[in-house]
Symmetry: C2
Amino acid sequence: MRTHYCGELNGSHDGQEVVLCGWVQRRRDHGGVIFIDLRDREGLVQVVFDPDRAEVFARAEQVRSEYVLKITGRVRPRPAGTVNADLPTGAIEILGLDLEVLNASETPPIQLDTHAADASEELRLRYRYLDLRRPEMQSRLRTRAQVTRMLRGFLDSHGFLDIETPILTKSTPEGARDYLVPSRTHPGEFFALPQSPQLFKQLLMMSGLDRYYQVARCFRDEDLRADRQPEFTQLDIEVSFMTEDELMVLMESMIRDLFRAVSGVDLPDPFPRLTYHEAMRRFGSDRPDLRVPLELIDVADLMAEVDFKVFAGPAQDPDGRVVALRLPKGGELSRKEIDAYTQFVGIYGAKGLAYIKVNEWAAKGREGLQSPIVKNLPDAALNGIMARTGAEDGDLIFFGADKATVVNESIGALRVKLGQERGLMAEGWRPVWVVDFPMFEHDPANQRWVALHHPFTAPKEDQLDRLETDPGACLSRAYDMVLNGTEIGGGSIRIHRDAVQRSVFKLLAIGDEQAEDRFGFLLRALKFGCPPHGGIAFGLDRLVMLMTGATSIRDVMAFPKTQSAACPLTDAPSAVDEAQLKELALRIRLRP
Amino acid sequence: MRTHYCGELNGSHDGQEVVLCGWVQRRRDHGGVIFIDLRDREGLVQVVFDPDRAEVFARAEQVRSEYVLKITGRVRPRPAGTVNADLPTGAIEILGLDLEVLNASETPPIQLDTHAADASEELRLRYRYLDLRRPEMQSRLRTRAQVTRMLRGFLDSHGFLDIETPILTKSTPEGARDYLVPSRTHPGEFFALPQSPQLFKQLLMMSGLDRYYQVARCFRDEDLRADRQPEFTQLDIEVSFMTEDELMVLMESMIRDLFRAVSGVDLPDPFPRLTYHEAMRRFGSDRPDLRVPLELIDVADLMAEVDFKVFAGPAQDPDGRVVALRLPKGGELSRKEIDAYTQFVGIYGAKGLAYIKVNEWAAKGREGLQSPIVKNLPDAALNGIMARTGAEDGDLIFFGADKATVVNESIGALRVKLGQERGLMAEGWRPVWVVDFPMFEHDPANQRWVALHHPFTAPKEDQLDRLETDPGACLSRAYDMVLNGTEIGGGSIRIHRDAVQRSVFKLLAIGDEQAEDRFGFLLRALKFGCPPHGGIAFGLDRLVMLMTGATSIRDVMAFPKTQSAACPLTDAPSAVDEAQLKELALRIRLRP
């Protein structure tokens, strides 16, 4: 129906007759002439209607915003002085020769110009088809399609097979809540929607398919406090007969290729690697944002003997941790700002936020420090702190002292927040692999071990005996890819021997019966020549969010759900007929 | 962990030391030497272990079928006289230098050689990871991945955007039963899994995205008598500002490119087109298999006055049809074969299968015909039939006389069956577009109109008035792509004006309230500048089934379900905890 997209026209089309289809971005009547900015996926172009062509002009007069038009016109240069350098088509305009209104539009309930993002998210989601007309939203969806295409292209060219796994399946072991689907043919029984294709991709390796990938929809029925969605997409990958090192090298080259192609950026080659232990020690986090040049510095040894319980207690506690965090030029912080940071660390369970302002340490020593806690610290401790942090006059030193988990979470988060708010963030992209994770964490509340990744993660080959002797010290063959403080991918070499898998289930207090019931098919499959294998999964939504600079994964999905897992556009979920429920052998349970 | 795939080795690798990983297809001990056929995704290679290397030889002796091995060895030509020309690697063998057992295997419950397909499907699905080790199954999954890649590539290069639409959504209008997903956060309410992304892709056109595609999972909770699956995959496509003709030309060029690339076949350019009316008339089906050179020939006019109710009744009934189907050389059919065909058409509701064997028409006239019905037919009718069918001596003419629907179904099916069983089927691929479908069919049982496609299909622009005056005569802008008698794709130009959409809903007896409840969001969206748009969806499973020569879509899916919609591998669906049900505000209803 058209000859060109609006946005692709330029001086090279001068004199051509073109047919365009698109939406009215704006109509202006000026000097007896009508100007229509016509918009399509590729951009805007200005169309001019002259009163000489009375019939067409009359039709143009009826046109309003968001009308859908088919316009025939001739490309011509804009008159001198009216060229718009901000617009790719700004050197030309179209003289309107014919105009057909393909459809009318009521006045949109959200503005489609630059202020559209100001509309409430509820309204934007309810009228998503209008929100998606905004170039910003279209650009994000286009980048998403491009990212997916690049990733697929890389994997295709490396011999990976795109294989679909079921959506109607059995409850999976990721540990979050499953979405359930009642079966009509097996009354009282349910499918679960997959939290990931984990077990299926392992089965594909047992099938000898060697290299698998899938852009896979995954589902988690979680409370959506954070930026999460009930359904999300992961790039799911599994390979046989590869070591973790080979797989990591391959995967980071894929991500490097992606950033080069889509963002025109060269990521480091190779990506740096941090052990879990080092990441926690230096950054208080296993997904450290390396753009922030601040580090946690352990000072427990300096504090163990001080006459100040707040520090000495955690310093002496085997589960405790005491750290200093030096903020260069932090001396500028006001009391109010420090209070705000104190409140911030409180979110993570910290009971306070001790600090020292370094005013004139070099000249005045202890007297040159400004702090509520200095009086509690002997010279040895103070000297140690100053030496170890390398603090200079004008700096500020924050302290965390508590259970290690609280210190890591609170001071780790403070480190990133200071980076953002104090202008310390380096530009660009800082990927890092985190490796050598522990296999297990101890859950003191329930007195049991829980898997840090999932129960199919292989322990390091030379630490198999620790499964028996010291589970807490046993490291896994897992690896996470972290980019600017966000985990964009995570995976592991999997257990391929049934005896090891049974040991791990036992350690996780998954009894024989439960193991058979939930994972019997996997344990059976392990007996028939399971190859060594491993894989990784990338969170596609989050990756695209980072690459497009969006602030929420909802902005890189065409039809996301709200925080209460509902869709304001279609009104899903909704009530269903009693007859449907009956067919599914279900009854609604009335809440007490 | 390896240097090569087993199946890629050949004479050019002579003398190289290689490391291979794979499965033991077979071990033979012969002349004091051990031969192991090692298998991986790319094929088989023979490895020879000499008793001189005592340690490695001893390890090779322990090896059994389906063990997973890592073998280091040296490529060498096979000795003269032992070259296996049937095997791509058959010119060489590997002298085994080292062998590591990566994993053992119990004896597989299904054989993995050529007889594996003989195992019951239940067993094959239960041990799917073994079934998938068979080269035939791997080849199908590889072709599927290749087909998907080619289709994506075509669409990407034509400016289509790959956009994901929700799986957790609102009940869709395809008319089959939905799978439901209870919402935990909205107790008593349900999501539905999409039967297709139909409404979302239309919304994407209203969003101005112009060209969309998605390899989309779809779900239908139907009784699976035919070769259907609860979840299946369609290549879903939608465009704005294109006529049906432009879209059909683009889509058939995509399918031509696909067959050229994957199957090395040139499909016709352009595809032939048949109207619905002509397809029904000539083939009794709107998905005619053009490989069969037989056609239904209308003879009602010849039969209207005959003194034989079986023919005269339907000939005089406005809803009746009387056809002849000439089977060249059908005179060879035995009584028993004719009885079998009579039984066959009975499946489709035909009450009998009249026939005439043409023994010696030319020489003997009426006496040269052999048939239980000839005595009932006057000369004029007989002469008319013989002339119109062009039957020659040695042929047989079948007849169908009943309601048109019964005749079309039964004789249409007989036509294809005769094509298959009487060696009449042409080789190769015969695509055809079927167009000019009626908008509606009349459902006499419920005295109402039903949509032949779906309620969003646009009527032909010049027939809008028939919506009021003669709905049964109103043709739609729908088109189906049919290949060798299978509908592989279907679509239409959609309604883009809300007044037309409301008229169609009204005709389909979808009241205002129900329309608002089910499709309110669509009706609302139509008010805000909906562009003219249309699309198509291809059944990917069925397309790949055809291209791989598989006989069931289950054979082109990695993890299909059984006819009772269950997965013997994982035992899904299965019971869930009472606590989970409680969280979802559900109770199991006990059957009476």
